[in-house]
Subunit: 592 residues, 2 copies
């Protein structure tokens, strides 16, 4: 069975030595000193390793059961959910006015990685609740907030997001679910929603569905869509649970992965619902939560990669097979451990160098969300809006690749379900798809974010890179191995942006044909920047003789690998982008 160890040291390094969390002038960050975050992460790590990880493989093989209209989670999930609730974990980064602990998104994301890495299916029940919480918190009336939030913050009730319908996925304007206004101010919701994660289960007394629907007489398309609160069980004036609402599970999907999370077809049959936010402004309400939701998916991609890589590294150290080409390293044993083979190391370095860079990128992104919200900082908001599709698309694509590479290290054993390596691949796969498939992220990036505010955010990003390089040019450790490759990669990104600016206006296909490559090019530059920053922090620590020297040496070595072997991919992406739309669009549709 696979194991999970919380990467506390790596997270602490990013929080404090790279991001300098407690020194940032963001309200609430002053509490985030190293001792405090270590205590939180250690505690969360114990639950992740000791409670959630042991349920992961079994949860996958059993899956959820749907019998007689009731959805049951796998054995052990209820008890574990009670433990999570008792520890107050779901409340960590929620509003204290509703029972939350008021911690920043930064800490919530760091803890989220541990839970998600240990058990993605399980953690989604809590994660979806947090998404629904955020929507009600941002758009609800005081009465709605008082009614729904406290019990969602505690996870006494869980939440869901209902967007997709069979004919309406990315294109939400095609939505058909109807909301009919009633005299008492409520609505009757009727329609079918699909792919509803955590749609029903036996972990909580109520499920608070947020449902996008069209009020009778609303404008056609996306501008006629409103958001509603539709509980599984109606709630009485006094807060007690009342009658069952007309909400039912039509089906629980059989999926490639996340078997222990119930992905439901939800049927609304004149269900009672309450308008959340303004009429016809449902999409705007969704958009305000999008950055955080997509950051959460990026986190999941990274988390599965970390979990898979840990097990691959353990296996590579333990599995005896063949001899090192440079001479036996375990001459007393029947063979050397396979970690002596350069190609096994290459695969592990691919994983590690991605994971550690990705974690820094993720947590930087979380801190930008905090800054944009807590400081009302428009520049931070612009920058994170630009980076979100990159975080979501790049971290989940490369996170998935890392799980595949980890599985590969097990050889045939990786293909057998009992080692758990297949589950990491299958669970990670969904992160590339949900919360906006990665092609849609690329479209959002190139079609919307790049030109936003006249290009201010992307210019701010380039400035940031330039400033870092200028400030560190004199550092011998950084210059050749980190700054030069970063400079080259950033130049490729600028050239690609320039190509879009020159060609995109007269021929939008020329930009969109390169959108996916641009997302990856951008992701590499971000990880290059993160590695340069981490290398700077580790070089400083080594120079001053503080901290664990071996830890910092390892950071420099891993960073050099990324810069030498991964970052050069930017040139390939640029070449593809510059080839334009002709090769992409030339084949007639019926010839595929």
């Amino acid at each position: 069975m696979p194991t999970y160890t919380a990467p506390v040291n790596d997270i602490q390094f990013v929080l404090h030595q790279v991001l300098g969390a407690s020194e940032q002038d963001i309200p609430g960050y002053e509490e985030l000193d190293a001792e405090f975050t270590a205590a939180v992460l250690e505690e969360a790590g114990k639950i992740a390793s000791g409670v959630l990880a042991p349920l992961n493989l079994e949860g996958d093989s059993r899956g959820v059961r749907f019998e007689n209209g009731v959805v049951r989670t796998p054995e052990g999930f209820r008890e574990a959910f009670e433990q999570i609730k008792a520890g107050g974990w779901p409340a960590l980064d929620c509003d204290p006015d509703y029972g939350g602990q008021g911690m920043p998104v930064l800490l919530g994301t760091a803890v989220g990685e541990l839970f998600s890495g240990a058990n993605q299916s399980f953690t989604m029940y809590q994660g979806l609740t947090h998404g629904a919480y955020s929507a009600i918190h941002a758009h609800g009336t005081d009465a709605q907030k008082a009614k729904w939030l406290p019990r969602m913050v505690s996870c006494e009730w869980t939440g869901t997001m209902n967007l997709t319908e069979p004919q309406s996925g990315t294109d939400l304007g095609l939505m058909r679910t109807r909301a009919v206004p009633q005299d008492d101010g409520t609505y009757r919701i009727t329609g079918e929603k699909i792919f509803i994660s955590a749609g029903d289960h036996d972990l909580a007394g109520n499920v608070v569905h947020l449902v996008l629907a069209r009020i009778s007489g609303a404008p056609e398309g996306i501008k006629g869509v409103s958001l509603f609160i539709v509980p599984k069980v109606l709630v009485n004036e006094d807060g007690s649970l009342g009658a069952r609402n007309n909400v039912s599970v039509g089906k629980v999907e059989k999926k490639m992965g996340i078997h222990a999370n119930a992905t439901c077809v939800m049927n609304y049959d004149g269900a009672e619902g309450y308008l959340l936010g303004q009429e016809h402004k449902g999409m705007r309400a969704m958009f305000t939560m999008m950055n955080e939701a997509r950051l959460g998916v990026a986190m999941q991609g990274l988390a599965q990669a970390e979990a898979a890589c840990q097990n691959a590294a353990d296996y590579a150290r333990e599995r005896l097979q063949g001899r090192a080409v440079t001479g036996a390293e375990n001459p007393g044993g029947p063979a050397d451990s396979i970690i002596v083979h350069p190609d096994v190391r290459r695969a592990l370095m691919d994983q590690r160098s991605f994971i550690e860079g990705a974690r820094a990128f993720l947590l930087w992104g979380a801190s930008l969300i905090d800054r944009s919200r807590r400081c009302d900082d428009a520049a931070a908001e612009g920058l994170i809006s630009l980076l979100i599709p990159v975080l979501k698309g790049f971290l989940t694509d490369k996170g998935f690749d890392a799980t595949v590479a980890a599985q590969q290290i097990f050889g045939g054993h990786g293909y057998i379900e009992e080692t758990g390596m297949s589950q990491f691949v299958r669970d990670a796969r969904i992160t590339q798809i949900y919360e906006g498939a990665n092609g849609v992220q690329a479209l959002d990036l190139v079609g919307r974010k790049l030109a936003a505010e006249g290009g201010k955010p992307i210019m701010a990003f380039f400035d940031l890179v330039k400033r870092f390089i200028a400030e560190n040019e004199g550092d011998a450790v950084l210059r050749e191995a980190f700054l030069e490759p970063l400079k080259a990669a950033s130049k490729d990104l600028q050239a690609a942006s320039m190509f879009f600016m020159e060609n995109g206006a007269k021929n939008p296909n020329a930009a969109l044909a390169g959108s996916y490559d641009f997302m990856h090019l951008f992701g590499h530059v971000c990880l290059g920047l993160m590695w340069a920053r981490m290398a700077g922090a580790s070089a400083a620590a080594l120079a001053s003789g503080t901290g664990d020297a071996a830890f910092h040496e390892a950071k420099l070595v891993t960073g050099r690998y990324y810069m030498a072997r991964q970052l050069p991919a930017t040139a390939l992406h640029l070449a593809r982008i510059r080839s334009g739309d002709a090769p992409v669009m030339a084949l007639p549709a019926d010839r595929f």
Copy 2:
């Protein structure tokens, strides 16, 4: 449910317009005129689409059952297997002396793609039998061949290959299974073998296991391994079935994919076995079949990609979502089909341009096997031995990627098992692992094949590329779009080979750290060469006004895509290779 259409026109194009099969001076090829191969492929295509494909999804969801020591294949498999046998398909490329039809590997591979693309799990029962047939055919005594082959050629009995043990995978020298010689010349085989594909089932009256084992007193390591025939049921002198042998199934593995093929733990408990070939020369016997077996796995990788891509293209044409950025293309409908979006096309072009290039490479490889065998041509043998790890590693890696890309086009629907897109991914995944994991292929390529015969085969390959370029330099259609990129890519491959020659001898890790990148670099150059050849054939057809103009235009368009957007990857692989072993090997093993 997914569908499958045999890509007969594409195969015919490669066989006749690219490879000029019937004009090649290889015994047996004179029969392969276009009319004959079309008839064979059409007939095989009907079985693939009409019989095998409809069993694929159901076979995946039911899987094999193992109850009371008996392995049962999914419903419909027995009837389909009878149809395959009745059609004589397993005999297609077997020796006429034993009931085969004597067709070349080329045709066997082309037909194999259709069956495998329609249903990989099912086709493996036949495929493993063919592998065992080949071993007995190459190394058996006349008596052994007469006894075992006719009923394996007909698939009345099926076969397996038993190599792996729990502690012995890639490193077969660690093998523990023992063979004790008996007075009557037979052996008693005792040991546990794992990951035995098609290890047991209800499709045939007998299963002929080929088992690697160590004869008592044999030398340690790989040089003490012998190969044995160990039937599930003993065969009497008169050919009738006798008593059950002491062979049993210990377990049927629960795997990520190929659920309908029984992957067994086989227990040999003093089972009666017959030495095949010479004592202690078991590995040599395995090696003679390796090229064909690995070509077969390359074929599987391509086949799953083709099947997945067909369904993705259909979905992209049918699924209505969003509008073309250049203006609605289906203004009467609720939305445009998603194939109008440049990034969807980009993903489909990635798949198609790989698949068509890969098919040409695969069939070229098959023709080299035929030439090496049927003409006893050492140069062809050297070249295919060099190319086999590239075929196996590159086609299965990129084939897997193609299935993932195809699944992605379905969005959330691709993650649901009922669309079948997940199965393509899960089934394709094994091709990267079995028959030598792809890292082992890369090691074989760089550590063994590259330097074989003093580098003669790799020089022959470069000559081949150079000659093609020189011969076609005057062709305006080819020059800029095909020959220039091919020249650049081939130069990268030469530079990488040079790097290994200069550094490999004094530091083998420097070569092996780049082995995986070299395999992919080589794969790209091969596909580049194939596309240049295909483009030449299509350009000629268009110039002469023969054939289907739209077909040939599509070939040129798809080829240009590959050259412009995929082939430039060679520069990235070269950069990685040149970074050497320092970044790969620097991290201490306990730091991963």
